[in-house]
Subunit: 146 residues, 2 copies
């Protein structure tokens, strides 16, 4: 394997590690303490495609259905979402935002965006197109793994 691919792997790993340390930790400890990162991700799917069932949330977010169930329970307990049974199939439950949840999520999203803006503003104007191109490519490669 080429040395440059090796270098690319090391950089990818470093960005993932630093990104997780800096961004996830910053979000969970300082910017927004009401919601964990995984909860924010779940609410993001809900905002984009909601209302959604447990099964759909599991498929979108990944992981085991019991993780989805447990996470949902916490969001219900926090009154950020509500669960409504489907009328013609009472096994199926749709999850939707409460007003409190929509508000909390909006605030969290804004805080994450602000923070990431301050980080990525270090990208020079002429580098942004390169950034967008390379990150789009990496995203597709990661999505292709399934």
């Amino acid at each position: 394997m080429s040395d440059r691919l090796q270098e690319a792997i090391r950089l990818f790993t470093d960005v993932m590690v630093y990104g997780q340390n800096e961004v996830f930790r910053k979000v969970e400890n300082e910017l927004h303490k009401e919601l964990s990162m995984e909860q924010i991700k779940m609410l993001n799917w809900l905002e984009r495609y909601g209302p959604l069932t447990s099964k759909e949330l599991t498929e979108l977010q990944g992981g085991h259905k019991s993780a989805t169930s447990s996470r949902l329970k916490k969001l219900v307990d926090k009154e950020y979402v509500k669960v409504v049974q489907k009328e013609d199939d009472r096994r199926v439950k749709h999850v939707e935002f409460t007003e409190k949840g929509a508000s909390a999520y909006k605030e969290a999203k804004e805080q994450v965006n602000e923070y990431l803006s301050s980080v990525l503003e270090g990208i020079e104007n002429e580098e942004i197109d390169q950034f967008i191109y390379i990150f789009s490519k990496v995203k597709e490669l990661l999505k292709k793994q399934n």
Copy 2:
């Protein structure tokens, strides 16, 4: 804020999320079940700079010292590392690999590398330099957050 910076933020978030879902989950569930991702990271620091004290490991890996303590205890229990008290300051303990740990870590590292190779091989030869440049830049921006 420019639309392109917004797009960059969205892509960065997506890569972080997909990367964590695909890579971390793949590593922890399929490639290597003996070590969690955080344990692998800790052993990586140990390999690069070891032997190290608890305090030094906390500084390198980030997080609270109690997280380091707990993680170390698990690695000790698995006989992957051993802890030796400093002779002239018995509060201080140095952590080093056992043979078993060095072997397990080497295997985990190889598996992670192989997997990431298969993902990033989708990067075209002429894109690698761009990738390296952009990811180096992002890494420095993230490191600068402290």
